[in-house]
């Protein structure tokens, strides 16, 4: 017994030493991309796929000699959606050689780390919170912001309502997580609904682990359209419950970019999801499967059939492509030696007006006072077993200016 204890203690100390003395891998010219993401927590369902895409593209770049000879070091950290862990993780890696960009997957983490990122003069990426657009600092959004997507969907609903021969404006219900993210969409989205005259019902917020959503749905039964927030498979389950209640026949369900993904919700509960519309800032479904870069990355590094492509894979490629483009600009401007977060920040601001993502997202709009990667969205609908496009790139209305942040 004593011996076992001693051995265990030894192993533990050894592990500690290894982890602490972990070298910073300063071999060749490298730059680092830090991703504080959730691999084992509530948003792992989609975050993992996105991170995989990012990792794949960086591997691809490194295998082909890097960006002008500079290799990219990708550091993923599992935060488990916990702010303290994220901060700890960031501080551990903040002195990494040429750390240029940190990515914060989760609204609270982004907010908590904002002052640190700003002080360290880093570029940081964050999901889609309007606050960062309203008060632009050094943070850049992955795509457009949540409320813009919601407003674009409201526009789509109004048009769809008219095209079906109805007069006036539709009644819209809103369902979301009972969290900061769930409420973010209405900070601006609500004002936009008032502006265009859509009748927005009282929003419903549900806890993340809810088994039965019928109470929320029942209260929205008079709506013509229902927007379902939350991260897949949550929206899928909501719509499935609605399907059980027979609501999918009369009500059109619309989701955001965290909504039903091709290989997740759509495949698992295909019948219930028929006709559901998804609003995204990247290409999805059949479009994504046809896209040459996505296809290449997926087949090369994941080695699975293309029809198993997870929906949000394109988002991660978006991060990587933006990073690559900005790195090229920064290297040209200041060279590797002087490369730092500030140079990268300037480079990111110069990305606007170009098609960086090869059509995965719309034309880039990053600029000195603009933090949205693009201002366009695309609508997809579940038809049969596929997620098919029902529109081209549509300009999303700017609803940030309507809300007082």
């Amino acid at each position: 017994m004593k011996k076992i204890r001693l051995i265990l203690f030894g192993v533990f100390t050894l592990c500690c030493l290894i982890a602490w003395s972990m070298p910073t891998f300063a071999k060749e010219k490298t730059v680092a991309f830090l991703s504080l993401s959730d691999f084992t927590g509530p948003i792992a369902g989609l975050a993992v796929d996105i991170e995989k895409a990012c990792e794949d593209y960086f591997t691809y770049i490194n295998e082909n000699g890097g960006v002008d000879g500079v290799k990219i070091r990708y550091i993923p950290i599992d935060t488990r959606y916990d702010v303290a862990r994220a901060i700890s993780g960031y501080k551990r890696y903040r002195k990494t050689n040429k750390l240029l960009v940190a990515n914060a997957v989760s609204t609270p983490i982004g907010k908590a780390l904002e002052p640190l990122f700003n002080r360290d003069k880093l570029v940081w990426l964050v999901a889609a919170d309007g606050e960062f657009v309203a008060h632009p600092k050094r943070g850049f959004l992955w795509g457009n912001c949540y409320q813009d997507g919601f407003s674009a969907a409201l526009d789509w609903m109004a048009a769809d309502w008219k095209s079906k021969g109805n007069s006036g404006m539709p009644t819209v219900g809103y369902m979301g997580w009972d969290s900061a993210y769930g409420r973010e969409l209405l900070r601006g989205g609500k004002e936009y609904a008032e502006k265009i005259g859509v009748n927005l019902l009282k929003p419903e917020y549900f806890p993340t682990g809810t088994m039965d959503h019928s109470t929320y749905l029942t209260r929205l039964k008079n709506a013509n359209y229902i927007w379902v927030g939350g991260i897949d498979p949550n929206p899928t389950n909501v719509i499935r419950d609605a399907h059980r209640l027979g609501m999918t026949k009369t009500i059109q369900f619309v989701c955001g970019y965290w909504g039903p993904a091709q290989y997740l919700g759509v495949r698992l509960h295909n019948k219930a999801l028929q006709g559901t519309v998804v609003t995204v800032f990247t290409i999805r479904g059949t479009d994504a499967q046809k896209h040459p870069l996505i296809k290449k990355m997926w087949l090369k590094y994941r080695k699975k059939p293309i029809n198993e492509l997870p929906g949000p894979y394109g988002i991660g490629l978006g991060w990587a492509l933006h990073f690559e483009a900005a790195l090229r600009i920064a290297l040209k401007d200041v060279g590797y030696k002087k490369l730092d977060g500030e140079a990268m920040f300037q480079a990111y601001q110069k990305l606007g007006g170009r098609d960086i993502t090869q059509g995965i997202q719309g034309i880039c709009t990053y600029g000195p006072n603009e933090r949205r990667a693009s201002k366009v969205v695309r609508f997809y609908q579940v038809k049969g077993k596929e997620l098919v496009p029902i529109s081209g790139w549509v300009k999303a209305p700017d609803s940030i200016s309507l809300h007082k942040f």
């Binding site: 419903e204 019928s214 029942t218 897949d232 389950n237 209640l245």
Partner: protein, 294 residues
């Protein structure tokens, strides 16, 4: 009125599943006095095994079910044998923390297997709905509720009429006395963990049928804990009633209070009621009041 019925019926049907999770915790507590968090993971793994058997290996439903139950029982056995057994004689606190550690350990495996993806069963319960004058009852939920009730009936019969059941009831009352009467208490512990894991695995299948196998599935274990406390940690019937009540309270509160209070009432209301009940009846609805002597 139709709304009320709809809320109530869905609440009861979901509550039946909560009850199943709650009773598995009650079983373990009754025999071993250990409050278990590990059951959340046993539940998730039950659901996962069933998915592997049903959708990966394409076994018929009953084979998959048998396979799941035996694997879950094996997991329960291993958990008891290697983590709880060495702690016999230590404080119950420590045992509780052990179940938490087991939860974390298994959570790693669960996340490893899921790897961010979720899974859903290909339909194996009847689909579709009944419509009772406006109130819609899902056949899937109804049949999982029925299964839950059947398991409860089986548990009642087992404890009332079989010799092993009698021995378990005796053990749950007094370990030393049970030993002196020739009951192999350790064997009973193992057996009760096996039964309880099998029950919770079935609960897991039923829950996963409603909410898919994904990240929050193990956290239903906490709901089970509430049910167990609510009904009283020693009472199987209490767990049944408490589970159904919990489902009802959740649905009715979120049905009628979400509007005025601004959302997210579902969890909070259940806890308010739990607190109130504990204050009025400190040992749950049907828990045994321990007579304390100095």
């Amino acid at each position: 009125m139709v709304d009320f019925m709809q809320f109530a019926i869905n609440g009861i049907l979901v509550g039946g599943l909560y009850a199943l999770v709650g009773v598995s915790i009650v079983l373990v507590f009754k025999a071993t006095q250990v409050v278990s968090l590990a059951h959340g993971q046993l539940l998730a793994f039950g659901a996962l095994f069933f998915w592997i058997f049903l959708d990966q290996l394409n076994f018929p439903v009953w084979v998959a079910l048998l396979g799941t139950i035996s694997l879950a029982a094996l997991m329960g056995f291993i958990t008891e044998r290697f983590t709880i057994r060495p702690l016999i004689g230590e404080s119950l606190f420590t045992a509780f923390l052990m179940t938490f550690s087991v939860f974390m350990f298994l959570d790693g495996f669960f996340q490893l297997y899921l790897s961010g993806q979720s899974r859903a069963y290909s339909p194996f319960l009847p689909e579709g709905t009944f419509n009772l004058s406006g109130v819609i009852i899902s056949k899937g939920l109804l049949s999982s509720f029925t299964i839950a009730m059947l398991i409860f009936a089986a548990l009642f019969a087992f404890f009332k009429f079989t010799r092993t059941g009698l021995q378990m009831r005796a053990t749950s009352e007094n370990h030393i006395l049970a030993q002196s009467a020739g009951i192999g208490v350790k064997k009973v512990f193992t057996l009760i963990w096996i039964i309880s894991s099998a029950v919770v695995a079935i609960g897991g299948i039923a829950c996963a049928n409603v909410m898919d196998i994904h990240y929050p599935l193990p956290y239903i274990g906490i709901k089970g804990l509430i049910v167990a406390m609510f009904g009283g940690l020693e009472s199987i019937g209490g767990a049944l009633l408490a589970g159904i009540l919990l489902g009802l309270i959740e649905n009715l509160s979120s049905g009628y209070l979400d509007g005025p209070l601004g959302g997210g009432v579902k969890d909070a209301a259940a806890y308010v009621i739990l607190l109130l009940i504990l204050i009025v009846k400190p040992y749950g609805l049907f828990g045994l009041k321990k007579i304390e002597r100095i």
